[in-house]
């Protein structure tokens, strides 16, 4: 096994996009890897690791620490990674790797596949013929109490009234939040009836997404490839008219091709 180099300068590494079954070089001939590098498939015990060469100046440990702070770099790499994973998903069952998994040579890739062979096979069995859908639900909560300085300008009575009003607004907002959370939980469970597997992700920060309302559900479902899940979501969501529901998919099975602990 190769030793880890002290310096990455001028060295080539292998970026791993995904591990799947039934994927070969020809199937990926029309898709490019990062920085337009050609994709290669490394076979090991019936599994196919999709890789391309990367410069370790850019993708080594130091390069990653530096570049992951750069949003444009991150977006470019994430979209290329996703495009490769989608191409592989179109050919055979695919377990996508987490962003920025880099090995130093082919032996290291194969030794990883060897080490995780059982869990990989089980993950691929789980996602074979299935796709991931994202379901997000948003609620319009009661307006938060207006921020401002305590209204003390009109004497003690005004101050007490202000505090009472603030308290009432806070209570209303909390109640509204609890109702929305309850609705979201019910929707999440109702949709689970139609799914092979489900998973809740953290609600997204509105500063990142600029969504309106409060995201009360950010869920992922694993669905049989031919099922009309978007229609199912639309039908179920009509039972909770207070929620705005968005379904996106199909995705590669990012949230479900996970490896159990060995």
């Amino acid at each position: 096994m190769a030793e880890r180099p002290d310096r990455d300068t001028g060295r080539i590494g292998l970026y791993l996009y995904a591990i799947g079954r039934g994927i070969d070089d020809d199937a990926l001939a029309h898709t490019s890897g990062l920085r337009e590098a050609p994709l290669r498939v490394l076979e090991h015990r019936g599994l196919a690791a999709v890789v391309s060469d990367v410069d370790l100046d850019e993708f080594g440990e130091d390069g990653l620490r530096r570049n992951l702070e750069d949003l444009h770099w991150l977006e470019d790499v994430a979209r290329t990674h996703d495009a490769v994973v989608r191409a592989a998903t179109g050919v055979g069952p695919t377990a996508p790797l987490r962003l920025a998994t880099v090995c130093f040579d082919e032996d290291q890739v194969r030794s990883r596949v060897e080490q995780w062979h059982g869990p990989l096979v089980r993950a691929l069995d789980r996602v074979d013929g299935r796709a991931e859908f994202s379901v997000k639900a948003y609620a319009s909560l009661a307006e938060p109490a207006a921020a401002g300085s305590p209204a003390a300008r009109s004497g003690p009575g005004a101050g007490a009234a202000y505090l009472q009003r603030r308290k009432e607004e806070t209570r209303r907002r909390e109640q509204s939040g609890q109702d929305a959370a309850h609705d979201a939980e019910e929707l999440y469970s109702a949709l689970s009836e139609h799914a092979v597997a489900r998973r809740r992700l953290q609600p997204q920060d509105p500063r990142l997404t600029k969504h309106e309302g409060t995201m009360v559900l950010n869920a992922a479902y694993l669905i049989g490839a031919d099922e009309p899940f978007a229609d199912t979501v639309a039908a179920e969501a009509s039972r909770w008219p207070e929620l705005r529901v968005e379904v996106i998919g199909p995705w590669p099975p990012y949230s479900f091709a996970t490896l159990e602990e060995q």
């Binding site: 996703d82 880099v102 008219p241 996970t258």
Partner: protein, 66 residues
């Protein structure tokens, strides 16, 4: 079953339409992790921290600290 009265919006996405935040939710938060000393990949926690920092920097501008 495309009833326009229902609240859900369904759309089939092409890769370029996917919101970056949705993509990073998946590429950084889940996915197969091949742990081991020979894999150059930062710990999940580190990546999440970096992700939020990078994105929030862009949203808020670089002058504001997290």
């Amino acid at each position: 079953m495309t009833d326009t009265a229902v609240a859900a919006q369904a759309r089939t996405t092409l890769p370029q339409d996917v919101a970056l935040v949705d993509l990073l939710d998946r590429l950084l938060g889940t996915g197969v992790v091949l742990a081991g000393d020979v894999v150059v990949s930062l710990a999940g926690v580190d990546l999440v921290r970096i992700r939020l920092q990078a994105l929030l920097m862009t949203v808020r501008g670089p002058e504001e600290e997290l």
